[in-house]
Amino acid sequence: MAHLTMGAEGLRSVPALLARNASQFGASPAYREKEYGIWQSWTWAETAKEVEALALGLLNLGVNEGDFIAIIGRNRPYLYWSMVAAQSVGAIPVPLYQDAVAEEMEYVLDHCGARFAIVSDQEQVDKVIEVQDRLHQFEHMIYLDPRGLRKYDHRRLHQFSHVQNQGRAAYDEYINDLQARTARLDYDSTCVMLYTSGTTGKPKGVVLSNRNIIETAKASSDFDHLRADDEVLAYLPMAWVGDFIFSIGQAYWTGFCVNCPESPETMMTDLREIAPSYYFAPPRVFETQLTQIMIRMEDSGAFKKKTFDYFMDHARKVGPAILDGHPVSTLDRLKYKLGEVMVYGPLKNALGFSNVRVGYTAGEAIGPEIFDFYRSLGINLKQLYGQTEASVFITQQPDGEVRSDTVGVPSPGVEIRIAENGEVFYRSPGVFVEYYKNAESTADTKDPEGWVATGDAGFIEEATGHLRIIDRAKDVGAMADGAMFAPKYVENKLKFYPNILEAVVFGAGRDRCCAFINIDLTAVGNWAERNNIAYASYQELAGHKQVLDTIQAHIEEVNASVAQDEMLSGCQVHRFLVLHKELDADDGELTRTRKVRRKIIGEKFEDLVNALYDGSTSVYTETEVTYEDGRKGKIKATLEIRDAKVVAATPQRMAAE
């Protein structure tokens, strides 16, 4: 790494990094994209030329320093070049989500006052044209794919390659200006502006400086020993901060190659062909892949299935230990080696994970068995915790200290502080400059000393120093005795059991926690079928004694695990019942994205909640349900309430209360 830090003075912007890469790794690949069935590739030297031509073309179109250039489209090398070309001329790239509707784009384009947009194809051109009349400042649009655009009015519309050609033709006129502008970029100039997805209110433009991006890229690349010969597959939205850090920040810092898939549909095939060494995916992707493998294994022949099961059992036993470098007996190691040849190797190859050295997942909690499955195969899958405002990295798991229930130790250069209400604060060189044109929100989020509120509640494990995230800070409550009440934390633990579809934990302001459980009809139904248990409906299965026994066992296991956390031991589930109906968005019990609406459920099933707390062993209830055609009906049921064993531990009172 020593050679990389040399000449640090010159490396204060992404274009400066590009110039270094072009001279240092000139002949090694910087970008690949599958097009026309072949991986087309560009070396760093070629990339520098392409970016320069585009930057000259942008000057030719009249881009000023400080202008915003919107970039809209799927991951393509041309659009990554556009970002760097924009930076080279002193403009600020603003990548947008390509699936945003025209109105959302209008808000963002208007908010940042973009004068230019570089977009991928006709679909995006149409969206921008739809709103451009309402944008007083908007001037020119550049598109990549000319298909279907021949007949459009080209006074303010330009084809990407033409802009580059014009730039090359005007080389002598503009090259001095371009070099001067690039040279003026320093550590505090804006590198990129990213809009947060805005689940609450309007999207906010997060301004990230060169310092934020380069310092973060440097620290995180060192943390995982990223190398110039690494390969990544860029398939997550370009407007997402993670893609910017992986595909621009780290790629330009270490000089590795960014591979772009042919189309979103071919992503899995392209992944297999590239076999990235550095990979990121949200938990959902890993989950889907695992499900597909399992389904295909169920359909395979008896011998294959037996071999798979046998070696996967072994992998689960010793795989993670081998990966973490813990001592494992020679016999087990030999058996694991055999498994590598028979099962793990081919499986990893089919998944495209043969070469993964560093893999990350983040965004939401990942089920332990999913996480362990990949790790047991020898894939170094880790978790990180981050935010746009932090230039991604807040905490991440070092090699050898990986667990599914933590998000790791503070990333290099990051300081973490837990506020009295449990909210996690951080301070780092990656902390964003400001929300664009929104001083009020900036002040709310970032205090004068540079501490930023994450909005998440968590705590640091004393033994290991790892951060554990519990819930959104605003969802964390207190129990009657003041102990912390984090329902989602417990619910997530419960939901990791395949038999449990949904769980709703109550306890805010009460002396103990109780829970509603929804069984997963597919998983439990499957089990019932195999054990010759006849049932006619969800309700009947939900009330079956053996099902209740199983659920009770799950809850007791969760209680034992919750009890290990001093702060949260009060959240153990004392009593539970299995609901007589599935929670449903049509009945208003879940949101459309399948999140539990705890308050509404608490009000709707008040009789059941009361029964949980008054000590009765069964309760009769009637519930109104909405059928899919809109008709209403009633379900009547007598539900059994059970006590679950809890593990004794003194709940720690929080100082603030």
Binding site: R147, K151, E262, S263, E265
Partner: protein
């Protein structure tokens, strides 16, 4: 109608001179007269539709154009010359490609291989060279593969490139057929009911592709279609047939207001 100057369409496209002309075509099968004394022309760069109720003789007409049937009477003029009776493959070599009403793909072969067959008329390496995959055969294969890949990219079927056609849903098979026809780089593309059996979304996709093909490659297209909405939106000029006779010819608007056409579709006693 006999001028060769061409015309400009409503959306501003320049249509060229006559590419193909049917002169007084009559087609008989024994005593059945499938086509009776029909004349019309197809101009370079236009989208020409042939419509008509069931049994009107549309597919027979298309088969005459593609050389599958030899007309009993009348002449086919193509690129300014009278076309002698030809086998379909000879017609294909002249730059006429087609798709079929009921899909005719090689079900066991991959999409890629199917589309490659469309390049057959452009390959002429010897059998020895082919067998050894050496020299000319190799160069040809690479060149043709590149052309095929451009068509695959154009029709957005990259994700099914290596999938056997038999496993594809109907709408995609239709698209693969179009791809194979396009791979031949035809000057005249014949589409026999390209939208038959499709749902609304598939129809929209297919319409967009047909317009894009016409726009991007300047390919002349002659299509048969039942869906009147589609025909009226897509085509520049329409020939209407009923019981083997031509009952209308003109722009979609002209045809729409033609009393004979309305009668043929709504049904009046003949």
């Amino acid at each position: 109608m006999k001028d060769t100057e061409g015309y400009v369409t409503a959306d501003g496209r320049q249509i060229g001179g006559t590419l193909m002309e049917m002169r007084n075509i009559t087609l008989r099968f024994g005593g059945v007269v499938a086509i009776q004394d029909i004349s019309f022309d197809i101009r370079e760069g236009e989208v020409r539709a042939i419509i008509g109720p069931n049994g009107a003789g549309k597919s027979s007409m298309l088969n005459v154009i593609s050389g599958f049937y030899t007309p009993s009477e009348g002449e086919v003029w193509y690129k300014g010359a009278k076309r002698p009776p030809m086998k379909p493959f000879e017609v294909a070599r002249q730059g006429v490609a087609r798709t079929f009403q009921n899909i005719a793909l090689f079900e066991g072969m991959t999409v890629l291989d199917n589309v490659m067959t469309g390049r057959l008329t452009h390959m002429n390496a010897g059998i020895a060279s082919q067998a050894l995959w050496w020299g000319k055969a190799r160069d040809e294969e690479m060149e043709n593969r590149e052309k095929v890949e451009r068509v695959i990219d154009f029709l957005e079927i990259q994700n099914i490139r290596k999938t056997p056609v038999g496993r594809l849903p109907y709408g995609l098979k239709k698209r693969v057929e179009l791809a194979r026809a396009l791979a031949a780089e035809p000057s005249l593309l014949l589409l026999d009911e390209p939208m038959a059996g499709m749902n609304v979304e598939e129809k929209e996709d297919m319409s967009r592709f047909i317009l894009d093909v016409n726009d991007e490659f300047g390919t002349t297209i002659c299509l048969i279609e039942h869906d009147m909405g589609v025909v009226m939106d897509l085509s520049d000029r329409v020939v209407v047939m009923d019981y083997g006779k031509k009952i209308g010819d003109g722009t979609p608007d002209e045809v729409r207001n033609n009393q004979d056409v309305i009668d043929a579709y709504l049904g009046v006693p003949h």
